[in-house]
Subunit: 337 residues, 2 copies
DNA sequence: TCGATTATTGATAGCGCTATCATTCAAAGG
DNA sequence: CCTTTGAATGATAGCGCTATCAATAATCGA
């Protein structure tokens, strides 16, 4: 089943069929319709290999992922896969093991497959070494995460700081005064942004945040367990705990239950991300919804744009796309007992 | 950087270079060496698009996924993506919403992209309607899950029954007599297989399994909470609970902790799958390791083989590939108090 | 009405690679 | 020494698609 078959069936030339496929403007509406009918009738779909070989605007982009939560990763992947497919762009997904060697290998693999650009997420976009490697090969980079756009790197993100502040304000509005924070992985800039948002909101409400109310975590369930233990061990334990992601919030709920604290009656627990986790545990988490799939879709789109721009000779500067987050109220928050 | 450049640099024809690249036997050793040097010197890597176009063995396969746990899904996806990429096969990933409409749509989308074959997982491969649709379009199918191979469907699986039996024997060997089972989603054949394995091992050990010791779950954390509550509410509560996946095992641990039961001192909890979950909770789960990524990789390979066979005119019957599972001992099991 | 535009379509020539068959060359046999 | 054989290499022709430009049809202004 080739373009020639469609051409024969529709009565036009292969070139016209190609134009229809590629949404070229210079095709009469009636022609377009006929060709589309033929395409549908023959159940034709173009051969990507031929397409990329013939077309100069074929592009191949890489997606480097490290080791975030599985829930996050699957959404992230699916979003980018879908978008890449829709744009007829080849997406190469490569795992980046931590450590210099793992990084180096992953990047070599990407570069040797001739990618035009790469999508990175935290914490990789925070690694100067990784960025230097891409710079050296003159590869375009789009980062998903809380990072500053630069001339060679665009960014897709949500406003982590403001999101965390909004959640904090919500908890304060419920009447809580002693609020604990479980900070995220120190390597992620988003962690710092969320902490700042928390502190800013607390300060704006005139509430003190003793240092022991902010405990370091690493975005893992396990680290959440330890952090929650530390917070609930405090002589004056917090009446609410804001965890910097859902995994740690889930762990906090587990620790609370182990101590016979009802959530949310005795302890309010809030998360961040709204991964599948948030609705699969009990009680369902009040959390910040982060549009993960949309973010990776946006990253793919942005990277494609940038590659086009570069090929056209324009040298755009890095862009910064801010997507909307949303405070999702579920069952893990309540006024203090 | 094309094959012609390498040819020029090495002093041989493009064809000879191609032979070296493809490890053709009919190349003199000295020639091979020279060409390889040229390839290395020029940092050449062949254009995949041209390769698959010229090779004519271009194929496109689909992967239909529904809504398993995110941890499972991400591994499953990554395995198949990697394998498809290595085999230069286009992989189209489509989500299948539950319900007749969702299924129909997803399948239409796949068929209209002209896939040569499809990879299904449970519970989709259990749906007669879905299978009928593919049969109608004469599409090859490889199922990942506990299903019988048929003329038009191959299967990649582990021996769920024996794996569950092995886990059960392990729990019995620890000294447990009252062992509860949380059954998996009734739509998945694997659930039934695991239940059978459990029952068989119990019977072989001469242990009774009162019906109330086997509680229905749905593979979700939430359902695990309810099932665990039911089991621990029993007048003679089990000293060990075997959950049919890790999510439900994690929920069981949460419920145990809420009731001040230490795991594993007061209650042994075992899972199944060995997803990321298993090591991220505390205590780490003793569970059955299922090679998820390998299974999806194997499915891709098998489908490619079948498509090749069909194109060559051979009409193979469905194959059945059994991969190895492994009992992984961690910290959630112990002899009864 | 007629040339001048402009919109639409078609013909041709590759993209980089490999399948196929032709050619060359070295070694072996007569 | 000249064929004969087989191994090694080269020449040619596409794979299915799109870029480019040429050709045609439709539209317009005078």
């Amino acid at each position: 089943m080739t373009i020639a078959d469609v051409a024969a069936a529709s009565g036009f030339s292969p070139m016209t069929v190609s134009r229809v496929i590629n949404n070229d403007t210079k095709v009469r509406e009636s022609t377009r319709l006929l060709v589309q009918q033929a395409i549908a009738a023959l159940n034709y779909s173009p051969n990507l290999a031929a397409r990329s070989l013939a077309g100069a605007d074929q592009m191949r982009i890489g997606l480097l992922y490290s080791n975030p939560s599985a829930a996050y990763l699957s959404r992230y992947l699916l979003g980018s896969l879908e978008q890449a497919r829709a744009a007829h762009v080849e997406l190469i997904v490569v795992k980046c093991d931590s450590g210099e060697q793992g990084e180096e290998e992953a990047i070599r693999e990407l570069l040797s497959s001739g990618v035009d650009g790469v999508i990175l997420s935290e914490p990789m976009c925070d690694s100067p070494r990784i960025l230097a490697l891409f710079a050296q090969f003159d590869t375009l980079v789009v980062a998903v995460g809380n990072w500053r756009p630069s001339s060679r790197m665009s960014v897709v993100r949500i406003d982590d700081r403001e999101a965390a502040a909004e959640m904090t304000r919500h908890i304060i509005a419920l009447g809580h005064r002693r609020i604990g924070l479980i900070i995220g992985n120190a390597l992620h800039l988003a962690s710092e942004a969320r902490r700042q948002g928390f502190e800013a909101a607390m300060e704006a409400a005139g509430l003190a945040v003793p240092p022991e109310y902010m405990v370091q975590g690493h975005f893992t369930y396990r680290s959440g367990l330890e952090a929650a233990e530390a917070l609930l061990d405090l002589p004056e334990r917090p009446t609410a705990i804001f965890a910097s992601n859902d995994d740690m919030a889930a762990a906090t709920i587990a620790v609370a239950h182990r101590r016979n604290l009802d959530v949310p009656r005795d302890l309010t627990v809030c998360g961040f991300d709204d991964t599948d986790f948030a609705q699969s545990i009990w009680p369902e988490l009040t959390t910040i919804h982060q549009p993960i799939a949309e973010m990776s879709r946006a990253a793919v789109d942005m990277l494609i744009d940038q590659i086009r721009a570069r090929r056209a000779g324009r040298n755009e500067t890095g862009r910064d796309q801010l997507l909307d987050y949303k405070l999702v109220l579920r069952d893990s928050d309540a006024p203090p007992g």
